[in-house]
């Protein structure tokens, strides 16, 4: 693009959202409709054949959702995006466009637990394998990739451990092997980190978290970086081969550098069906307008809370990349210098019982299994999300008996600290 590129805050408010042409409505209207009237039979044929831009049915496209898609594509610096019902369904549609039975994904072993479940168990039914690699050891990625590897999957800022992953180093390996790099950017958001600028080919989000930001709407998104050559090998037939679903159209040659997003829509979303509701798209869009303000405050509050806890006599350790002594601090300074986000873990003196006591005694923090709300959230993984694991497994997963995870909200930071202090005082 040769013209002045607007700043991030301008894009967060305006990208994708011109006034409504029918009414002049300035906020994006909620097009709460299942279907759209055709002008005539030829117009309908053009739409069904992908020959014209336009709306048929809200499972495939919707004008409210489209604004969300263009908005996030612009914020991530991608060519196009596809919104879905949840972050999990974004992952499903992304890998559906990349994988055939017998193929595998090389994935970082530090991922959100729900993603580990999806890759390890659910995807097995589709014949998609997963091979794990350690983001602290680049050679483990190289070693894991084989002739059937069709994607590398990492989180930019891994949940929950506060691990910052060296995206550029992994992108280099991906490029050398001719495999696309898929990055889940949920915890960082494009305000803190833009993975495409570091070599990622595809970016995924759970919009449910910081992008929506208010804990009220589920959503996910796939952003096409436009950088991968889908026709260079025969490994991505949904993009490079004539598709029987559309009388033999070849998506890559037809849609160029946004073909991946189109494939996820016209093959994945159309046939598998996890569409986001227009109402949720509207709620998330409204949240995104204040993303730069919220993420900065989340990060600033979290750093103050982390510093306080690091000096607290009831706290054994704090894992947060913004702390100067943290082992991920150098990578945080490189990939997300504005802040390390809202989520981190710490260890309480007294182990399991002390963890249970803390989540029971908080008054401002909400005890629940989510992150990325305006409200401060807390969970003790050993007694909840990781309860079924053995002690050894819990520790290996970063969910040892003393581990507490918090997602620091947007309340006054003095009140957040005071609540933790009173709950730790026991």
């Amino acid at each position: 693009m040769s013209e002045n590129i607007p700043g991030f805050s301008t894009l967060a408010i305006h990208a994708g959202a011109a006034p409504d042409p029918s009414t002049g409505a300035r906020a994006t209207p909620i097009y709460q409709t299942t279907s759209f009237v055709f002008d005539d039979v030829d117009h309908a044929a053009s739409l069904f054949g992908l020959q014209a831009f336009g709306n048929i049915y809200t499972r495939i496209t919707n004008p409210t959702t489209a604004v969300l898609e263009e908005r996030v594509a612009a914020l991530e610096g991608g060519t196009a995006a596809l919104a879905t019902a949840s972050g999990h369904s974004a992952q499903l549609l992304c890998f559906h466009s990349l994988m055939q039975p017998g193929d595998n994904i090389v994935a970082a072993n530090k991922l959100y637990g729900g993603s580990i479940n999806q890759l390890k168990h659910s995807f097995k039914s589709f014949g998609w394998g997963v091979k794990w690699a350690d983001p602290a050891d680049m050679s483990s990625f190289e070693a894991a990739i084989d002739d059937s590897t069709r994607a590398i999957f990492i989180e930019s800022l891994a949940n929950p451990g506060g691990i910052v992953v060296d995206i550029e180093a992994i992108a280099k390996i991906a490029k050398a092997k001719g495999v696309p790099l898929v990055v889940d950017n949920t915890m960082a958001t494009p305000y803190l980190c833009r993975p495409i600028e570091h070599g990622a080919d595809i970016v995924l989000h759970s919009l449910t978290k910081f992008m929506g930001g208010h804990g009220n709407s589920m959503g996910g998104i796939i952003v096409d970086g436009g950088s991968f050559d889908w026709s260079a090998s025969g490994n991505y037939p949904l993009l490079s081969q004539p598709r029987p679903e559309y009388q033999g159209i070849v998506l890559h040659e037809t849609f160029g550098n946004f073909a991946f997003a189109i494939a996820c829509r016209v093959l994945g979303l159309r046939d598998l069906g996890p569409a986001i509701s227009p109402f949720n798209a509207f709620m998330i869009l409204t949240g995104i307008e204040t993303l730069p303000l919220r993420m900065q405050r989340h990060s600033d509050n979290a750093k103050k809370v982390a510093l306080h806890l690091a000096a607290h006599d009831k706290v054994k350790w704090v894992s947060y990349a913004a702390l100067p002594e943290d082992k991920h601090h150098d990578l945080q300074q490189k990939y997300m210098p504005k802040g390390a986000g809202a989520v981190f873990t710490f260890g309480v003196e007294g182990g399991y019982d002390a963890g249970v006591a803390l989540v029971s005694k908080v008054e401002l923090f909400s005890h629940l299994a989510n992150i990325g709300d305006t409200r401060s959230l807390i969970i003790h993984p050993a007694s909840t999300t990781h309860r079924q694991l053995s002690d050894e497994q819990k520790t290996a997963a970063g969910a040892g008996p003393d581990v507490v995870r918090i997602s620091v909200g947007l309340e006054d930071v003095d009140d957040i600290i005071a609540d933790l202090d009173q709950a730790l005082a026991g």
């Binding site: 011109a18 042409p21 002008d39 263009e70 594509a73 196009a80 040659e253």
Partner: protein, 176 residues
């Protein structure tokens, strides 16, 4: 000029100015990109003259197909080339040699020939390479956003509507 990037105003100026388009390599196969683009440009009110020696004398989408640029009824405002880069360069040189100069020569996505482009520009022809007029029209009208594509444009002005429910024009231009 630099052909790595184009200002939106340059592309919009071309799409506003051009009325007739000769499409070299137009296909009768309804899943080929050149068929898509032909159909889209017709829907936006352009007069399009398909050129395809194998289809000469037949019709594609109701438009008479010509065997070559020489046979066109008039000099087109724009020549849109669906051929590989080498063939596109040769077409540019033939056009310059013929003396029948269009205002614009446009080469489709992945098609680019910088030396031929420089010769065309020296002859007063505007060049666009490695772009698609359907994508550019869709981008500048906002239609492409319906597919979740990043139009890389921002506007606080009402989009221009054309006839029907789902047809947009280029903003700032009166549409019927």
């Amino acid at each position: 000029m630099n052909h790595d990037t184009y200002a939106d105003a340059y592309i919009k100026g071309i799409l506003d100015e051009v009325k007739t388009v000769a499409m070299v390599g137009a296909s009768a196969n309804n899943v080929r990109p050149s068929y898509f683009v032909l159909k889209y440009l017709l829907s936006k009110g352009y007069e399009v003259w398909p050129i395809n020696p194998g289809q000469a004398g037949k019709e594609i989408l109701g438009q008479k197909v010509y065997a070559s640029l020489d046979e066109l009824p008039a000099v087109p405002d724009m020549i849109d080339i669906f051929r590989n880069s080498e063939a596109a360069g040769a077409i540019v040189d033939e056009v310059i040699a013929s003396g029948k100069l269009p205002k614009v020569i446009w080469m489709q996505l992945t098609v680019r020939h910088d030396e031929a482009a420089a010769r065309a520009e020296a002859a007063g022809i505007k060049m666009v390479m490695d772009r698609c007029p359907k994508i550019e029209y869709g981008r500048l009208s906002g239609e492409i956003g319906w597919a979740g594509v990043n139009s890389r444009t921002l506007s606080s002005k009402r989009p221009a509507l054309k006839s029907g429910f789902q047809h947009r024009g280029l903003s700032g231009k009166k549409e019927s």
